[in-house]
Symmetry: C2
Subunit: 370 residues, 2 copies
DNA sequence: CCTGGATCTGACAACGTTGTCCAGGCTCTA
DNA sequence: TAGAGCCTGGACAACGTTGTCAGATCCAGG
């Protein structure tokens, strides 16, 4: 066996100075110095300027031990002089954790999601993670596209407010270890963590509240039953009516109509039909607002309970009685579960339901005006 | 000069076998083959399974030409079988553009920022970019921390709603080519793109509106003048008063008080002092809400104009007259300018002011009740 | 049968960071 | 003063992708 060290394996040495030649460095310097992030200096540049090795710079940047104060000072100086900022993209590639989580919202312009999103962000921040988000605009395809784009970014986890009802597209991702929590609405066709409001119980209590105040002809204005929350609230309405032994007439229900103009018409119809309702249960905040407008134009008082709280509800005449969800708690709970999945503390998917709260302000306590 | 190659610089050789030791490679192969993103397959894995080269997979994934349909089918099959998803982190590192922009908000729970943020997201989406965001919670340090963290992620650009008034920390980033637009409030101490509402003009018009309805003793409840928007609105108030030749009394102004309880006290004081105001101009949406509450408890009617529109303002008694900003337009304009910076279409920083709109609903048209 | 092009394919080197491991200098003890 | 053990610093190979470039393969035309 040949034990000689082949010549060409030796470190190349400059003939004149005797200094070792590090070919990479030399080649790099005579290329156009433009690198792609504008013109960001890299650790290599910092190292060259400080006259230290690459890894030493890395150590300083990451506060790792094993660097003399003097060296550290030199490196820090070079960092400041060059305006160096570590490239987290590269870091992520190397480390495998991105320290970021994704949030797939339904619509940020809906005031319900502001506090929810804010709560998720706070939890993420507490765990040192950034939040990447996007809105599905209630479109299942867009939800999927967004969720998968976030997975391609290798977010550590995903909080999803579902627009669709089939989430099998997430299966490979779940298998690959992407922590995932569905919030506000459950996941469809897969087994995953969900954090929901008690939509059924909340609606049932709200309607029962109206019944307790003497109403029997109670209208329900809700969203498409395809949406889980809408279906549950409808179920709550039916349950409360059934518990009270009141048969529900079809003309008292409006389902799946959401744009204000048509909600308005639906409400007006149930108020003036052959057996007009004396109270309305509104299935979500946007419907509630429209119904308030309709009722404001009428003289006969009609009782109203809305699902979701709305700002200024207490200042209206009468104040609006609502079944309030705690949007912030939903977001917080979901995000916390997500990080517990990442810890490994949490393994089995669960469905968590947070209670709702009936807030009486007047509109729900009006007696029936027959 | 010593021209010898030091022995210890030679490639290490195993004493017994004489073979060169390549430590990394050898060690790696007997390490667990688990890679870090859970266990994601890479292009290499796909290539191996499809029996093609790495680059061919890349070509298929990116829809590049030059792949036989048959090869493409094989690759696609392998991709599906393995559940491969391209790692955008690595892609970003290679390509230099992240196709993501950052948004530094003040507070997502504030309803004003929902539509703004949503508008930014829509524009980003139209340009194929993701949105990474975070809230500064009105804390300048947190704003800086967040903005720099986003830069470290190498976002292509940044939309910032400033909390602080010194943005020199962004200088190296701007120099490095990070597109940046400040929105709602201007950048401090640096020259950068800003998209603002016409806070001065809006406030002046709002106050002039009150004056036109006969008011002379008009209160101003605003935020800290350190905040640009607050300062401008105060300036608008003063200008309108001066234009009308009305000297302003100190007791009519509350500046920098923001928590509801203290706003309430401030409002009550200016309503019951020695020269009580007959109208109030509220400097932002949160103040407006609190003032509405105070006025609702009083019998003497007091006129009110608020800056920022609030939901349901039309349903209160009386309807609340406001100076409305177009939050969505602010966001859209800012984001569009950002992408034009990235295009290279836009070079010189500019300050853009969007007009506000006075919406009369009743509260601002009440006559003075002396 | 060879040549010349047009396809298609794959090796290889980046991108900027971090983990591993070794070298060289130092201090401390025997 | 040697040997053992620390401390500091640096070389090098990943991470998973894409750009470059050159090698295969094929077919038509001479």
């Amino acid at each position: 066996m040949d034990r000689r060290i082949p010549m060409d394996r030796r470190i190349p040495v400059d003939d004149r100075t005797g200094r070792r030649i590090v070919p990479e460095t030399i080649r790099r310097s005579d290329r156009a110095p433009e690198n792609r992030y504008g013109n960001r200096p890299t650790m290599k540049d910092v190292a060259a300027r400080a006259g230290v090795g690459l890894k030493t710079v890395s150590r300083v940047v990451n506060g790792e031990p094993g660097v003399t104060p003097e060296t550290e000072r030199r490196v820090q100086e070079a960092i400041d002089a060059l305006g160096f900022r570590r490239n987290d993209s590269a870091r992520v590639l190397r480390k495998g954790r991105t320290a970021s989580i994704g949030l797939v919202l339904e619509d940020l312009a809906d005031p319900f999601y502001g506090p929810l999103s804010r709560a998720v962000e706070e939890v993420a921040r507490a765990h040192g993670a950034l939040l990447i988000n996007g809105s599905s605009a209630e479109d299942p395809d867009r939800e999927q596209e967004l969720a998968l784009a976030l997975c391609a970014r290798r977010v550590d986890g995903l909080v999803i407010i579902p627009a669709g009802d089939d989430h099998r597209y997430m299966e490979p991702e779940l298998k690959a270890g992407v922590a995932t929590v569905f919030v506000d609405r459950p996941a469809g066709k897969i087994d995953a963590d969900c954090v929901l409001s008690d939509n059924f119980g909340g609606a049932r209590d709200g309607v029962a509240h109206l019944i307790a105040h003497g109403h029997r002809r109670i209208g329900f204005v809700g969203d498409m039953p395809r949406i889980h929350t809408a279906a549950e609230r409808l179920r709550g309405y039916r349950a409360a009516m059934e518990d009270a032994g009141i048969p529900v007439e079809d003309s008292w229900m409006s389902l799946g109509v959401t744009d204000p103009e048509r909600v308005r018409r639906a409400a007006e119809e149930m108020l003036s039909g052959p057996s007009p309702v004396t109270a309305i249960f509104a299935g979500n905040n946007r419907v509630t607002v429209t119904v308030i407008r309709v009722l404001a134009e009428r003289t006969r008082p009609v009782a109203l309970v809305g699902f979701d709280d709305i700002e200024l509800a207490d200042l209206l005449q009468p104040g609006v009685t609502v079944v309030a969800q705690d949007a912030a708690a939903l977001g917080r709970t979901a995000a916390e579960r997500l990080f517990r999945q990442l810890d490994g503390t949490l393994v089995t998917p669960e469905r968590i339901e947070l209670p709702t709260r009936l807030i009486t302000r007047g509109s729900g306590e009006l007696p029936p005006a027959d």
